[in-house]
Subunit: 308 residues, 2 copies
Amino acid sequence: MVRTDARVAAGGGKAVLTQAAKTMAAAMDDAFDALLPVPEDPRRKLYEAMRHAAIGGGKRLRPLLVRATGDLFHLDEDALVRVGLAVECIHVYSLIHDDLPAMDNDDLRRGKPTVHRAFDEATAILAGDCLHDLAFEILVDERTHSDPFVRCELVRALTKASGPVGMAGGQMMDLEAERTPFDLPTVTRLQQLKTGAIIAFCVEAPAIMAHVPLEARTGLHGYARDIGLAFQIADDLLDVEGDEALAGKALGKDAAAGKQTFLSLLGVARARHQAQFLVDQAKAHLHDYGDRAALLRAIADFVVERDR
Amino acid sequence: MVRTDARVAAGGGKAVLTQAAKTMAAAMDDAFDALLPVPEDPRRKLYEAMRHAAIGGGKRLRPLLVRATGDLFHLDEDALVRVGLAVECIHVYSLIHDDLPAMDNDDLRRGKPTVHRAFDEATAILAGDCLHDLAFEILVDERTHSDPFVRCELVRALTKASGPVGMAGGQMMDLEAERTPFDLPTVTRLQQLKTGAIIAFCVEAPAIMAHVPLEARTGLHGYARDIGLAFQIADDLLDVEGDEALAGKALGKDAAAGKQTFLSLLGVARARHQAQFLVDQAKAHLHDYGDRAALLRAIADFVVERDR
C-alpha cells in the first residue's frame, strides 16, 4: 500500500510538474518578449540575438526551482517569476558564451543554431553581456521584493553563483579538463561550481525573500547540492546515451574531448546508481516541508528521468 | 588679472588632478590585488587573466570622476573608491571583450598584450564575465553605502549604463558602423551610449549616494554629457595624431575600418574646436559648486589635453 501511495504521489507530482513547467515556459517567453522589444536603430541585431537565445526553448528548470521553493514559503508568484527570469538571463548568457568557437564551439542549442551561428561572434558576445546586465537589473527592481535589503542580498548571491567562485569558475575548470585528467573530487568540485552554484541560488533566493534564517536553510542547501550533482550525472549519461534530436544539441562531446566525467570515472552502472541515490537523498532533505514540497520532489525525479 | 587668476587656478587644478590620479591609481591596484588572490586550483589562469587586465594600467579616469563628484557632496572616500572600483570592473571587462578577435581584434592594450593574446580567447571571455559580476558584487556590499535602497539604485543605474541601452548597445552600433556610413547625429548617439553612459554613471552615482534630488542633478548631467563627447572627439584626434607608444594600443584603426567618426565628419579643425567648446560648456555647468568642483574642472581640461 505504501508503495502504491508513493507511486500515485509520484504520478501526481509528475502531472503537477508538467503543468508548472508549461506555465513557467509561457511566463518566461512572455517576460522576455516584453523586456526585449527590437528597436528600429543599429542595435536591432543585438536585441534579435538576445530574443533568439532567450525565447522559445529550454526546460526552464531553474525558474521552476525558484517557483517550487517559493511554494514552501507562500511567496508571491509574480516575484518568483521575476527571480526565475533573472536566473534564466544568467543561464542563457552562459550558454551563449560557452557555445562560442573559443569555448565549446557548438552549432546547435535548444534545437536552433547557436547565437554566433545565427548571427555572428561579436553579436553573440554582446548579447550574452547584455543578458548578464539584465539579470541584475531585474533583481534590484522593487517589483522583485519590497525590501531593498532583500534585493541587495539577491544580487549578492547571484553574483557569487555566476562569477569566478561559481559558474564562470566552473567553466574555466571545464576548459582545463581537456588538458588535465581530473580525479573524482575535482570533477565533483568542477560541477558544483559550473551548474551547482546557480541551482543552489534557485533555492536560496526564495529563502532570502522569505527571511528564512540561515540555520533553517540546511535542508534546502542539501537538496540543491544533491540535485545539482544528480543533474550533472544525468547530463553525462545523456551525452553518451541521449538522442541529439531530443537534446537539441550535439552529444558525445566529452569523450571526444578526452574529458574525465562522472561517467568516465564511475562507469554507467555506478553513475546511474549514484544519480538515483542523490535524488532520493535530495527528497529526504525536504521531509520537514510535507506536501508543500511536492513540486520540488517532482523536480528531483525529473532531473534523472528526463530525456533531454 | 582675471585671466591670470584663472590660469593660476587651472595650473593648480592640474597639480590637484595629478596627485588625485596617482592616489586613485594606487587605490585601484591595491583593491584589485586584494579582491583577486590567485587560487591554487584549475581556476588559476582565470584569476591571472583578470589581474593582467585590471592591475597596473589605465588612466583610471572613471574612478577619478566618481571621486571628484563625491567632493561636491562630502562623501566618504572609501565608499567612493568602491564605486570607482565597480565602474572600473565594467570598463576593464568591456575592454577585454571589445579587444577580442571577433570584435576589434586588438593585440595591445595599456601597453601590454591584450588578455586573449597573453592567455587565450576562452579565458578572456570568462575573465570579462567575472569582472562584470564583480562590479555588482562590490556595489551591493554594505561598505559601499549603509542604505540598501541606495545600493539598489547604484546597481540599477550601472546595469542601464552597461547594457543594451548603454555601453554594450554603443559597441553594437560601433560594429555596425563598419558596414553603414553613419551621419553626425548617429555617431553622436553611438558615442553617448558607448562611452557616455558609463561616464554619466560616474557623476550620477555620488548624487545617488548623497540623496541629491533628481531636479538638482541637471548641471551634473550636462557636465557628463559634454565631457563624454569631448572625450570621444579627443580619442578620435588621438587615433589619427597620437603616439602609439604613449597610447599603449594600436591607433589609426577607425580610418582603416572605414568608420565615420567625429573627425571624418567634422574635419580636424572643427573637431578640435568642438571638443574645446564642450569642455568650456561642461565647466560652466559646474558654476554652482564653486571651489568644490576644482577636480571636476581639471578632469574636463584633461579630457582634451591628454596625450593618451
